[in-house]
């Protein structure tokens, strides 16, 4: 009884119908929270002691970076579940997650560059974290490219899962890169086990934005997965009924 929900996930149709009700809520809440967090951070939060107002980009930069890394795990783990339990839906989630992660990584790099110009004096430096984030971006692009290269969807899924799993070694490297190498990039201020070194007046909006981005990611992932379900199951009756209804 306890694992029934997991086995139901084997049915794309069940997933499609179940998530239809979640979408408006997820969308509304995530967009509201993003707006609220942005306004709180940009307008009402404090200016940073040394960097002034340019540090306010942290409210976009950190959430996109966090989601870029978390999104890779979502992609790799759904690939692993697909390989182990042979769940089509899991592969569809993996395929849907790849471009989202790529865009988030690009945004993290872009906002980081925009932040770096006034504070470090350079748009780009080749330090440990930025380099490993570029590697993450390339990994995402590799998965997208691999998905598109195979005519047989089943082979494409399995091959991409293997690549995604091999690439999982990169995430801890990104995370620890600021500790292992001398870098301009700031070390972690948000900590899980100790008191965070960031001031609460900046910390709370930042945590809110991270939560908001997680919800936003879930929303976009569900949207993309549902499209992928429709695409792959287009020959089934239930999809053709949906299409016929308009």
């Amino acid at each position: 009884m306890a694992w029934q929900w997991f086995h139901r996930l084997g049915s794309p149709k069940w997933f499609y119908e179940k998530t239809a009700a979640w979408l408006p809520w997820l969308g509304f809440i995530s967009v509201t929270l993003i707006l609220a967090g942005s306004i709180w951070g940009l307008a009402f939060g404090p200016a940073e002691a040394k960097q002034g107002n340019s540090a306010r980009i942290i409210y976009i930069h950190v959430p996109t970076a966090v989601l870029a890394m978390a999104g890779y795990y979502v992609m790799a783990i759904s690939g692993a579940i697909g390989l182990i339990w042979r769940m089509k839906l899991s592969f569809m989630v993996m395929k849907a997650a790849a471009p989202i992660g790529a865009v988030l990584t690009f945004l993290a790099l872009f906002t980081g560059a925009v932040w770096g110009k006034p504070t470090w004096g350079a748009w780009w430096v080749w330090d440990g974290r930025i380099t490993s984030m570029v590697v993450l971006f390339l990994l995402y692009l590799g998965i997208v490219a691999l998905q598109g290269a195979y005519h047989n969807q089943d082979t494409a899924d399995k091959v991409s899962s293997v690549l995604a799993l091999v690439g999982m070694v990169n995430i801890p490297i990104i995370y620890k890169s600021v500790d292992w190498w001398y870098t301009l990039h700031q070390p972690a201020t948000l900590k899980l086990t100790q008191k965070s070194s960031i001031d609460p007046s900046m910390g709370y909006p930042l945590l809110l934005m991270i939560l908001a981005f997680y919800l936003f990611y879930a929303w976009v992932l569900l949207l993309r997965t549902r499209v992928e379900i429709l695409r792959r199951e287009q020959k089934t009756n239930w999809v053709q009924d949906i299409v016929a209804k308009g």
Partner: protein
């Protein structure tokens, strides 16, 4: 009832087959080396022939070109076996696929990585590599090309079913090459500057050991997927 050969015999026969096939196509052996030479010739022509400038970029350039030469040689790693059906036989054989695969990659390293490493000091002279760098260059290339072959074989196994898998292979494999390149060329640069290289060499060895344990399973899984496609 045919007796299954022992694993030791299977590995030895597999290695012998790779070396024999390569011996019969000696031209293929030379291709990465000629590529290495060609791009080393392009470097001063395209960038600058000033000795001071060449000496500064030599460690990195030698590593990058060796890496690219390895990358080019990877497409053919499983291709001919895939085309004539022997890859399918390997997958179906009672021997553990991971071991057979490790043997193939080892043969690839012997036939590509080692010759590139031996050629590198010669080309280092052409690029004005400073005196302290040669020993470490050879050491890091020897260890590093092992990792490059292992990682590259994962890409080769993933793309062996594609007609034009070559460029895609390079794209999916290059992100994993980044740490090997950073530590390999970093060690050579440190050696030239007179700094200790123990840390970089240790990390290169650790990467080689890690990949030699993990990669065969990834390669075997990818081969099974590609063969069944």
């Amino acid at each position: 009832m045919v007796e299954t050969p022992s694993l030791r015999r299977a590995i030895w026969q597999s290695l012998r087959r790779e070396l024999l096939l390569s011996y019969r196509h000696k031209g293929d052996l030379a291709n990465p080396l000629i590529f290495f030479l060609m791009v080393v010739v392009f470097t001063p022509l395209g960038i600058s022939e000033e000795p001071a400038m060449l000496a500064r970029i030599a460690p990195g350039m030698l590593w990058v070109i060796a890496l690219l030469a390895t990358l080019l040689s990877l497409d053919g790693l499983f291709r001919s076996d895939f085309d004539d059906g022997s890859l399918e036989q390997m997958v179906l054989s009672p021997q553990p696929l991971a071991c057979l695969v490790l043997t193939k990659v080892f043969a690839h390293w012997l036939l590509t990585g080692v010759p590139l490493t031996l050629l590198a000091p010669l080309l280092g002279v052409m690029l004005q590599l400073p005196a302290g760098g040669y020993g470490v260059l050879v050491m890091t290339l020897l260890i590093g090309t092992g990792s490059l072959s292992l990682i590259g074989a994962i890409g080769a196994a993933l793309t062996v079913g594609l007609r034009k898998g070559g460029l895609l292979l390079s794209l999916i494999i290059m992100p994993f090459y980044v740490p090997v390149l950073i530590f390999g060329s970093g060690a050579v640069k440190n050696a030239i500057g007179g700094f200790p290289v123990n840390a970089e060499l240790a990390i290169l060895c650790a990467m080689l050991l890690g990949w030699s344990v993990l990669a065969p399973f990834a390669i075997a899984g990818a081969l099974k997927i590609s063969v069944r496609a």
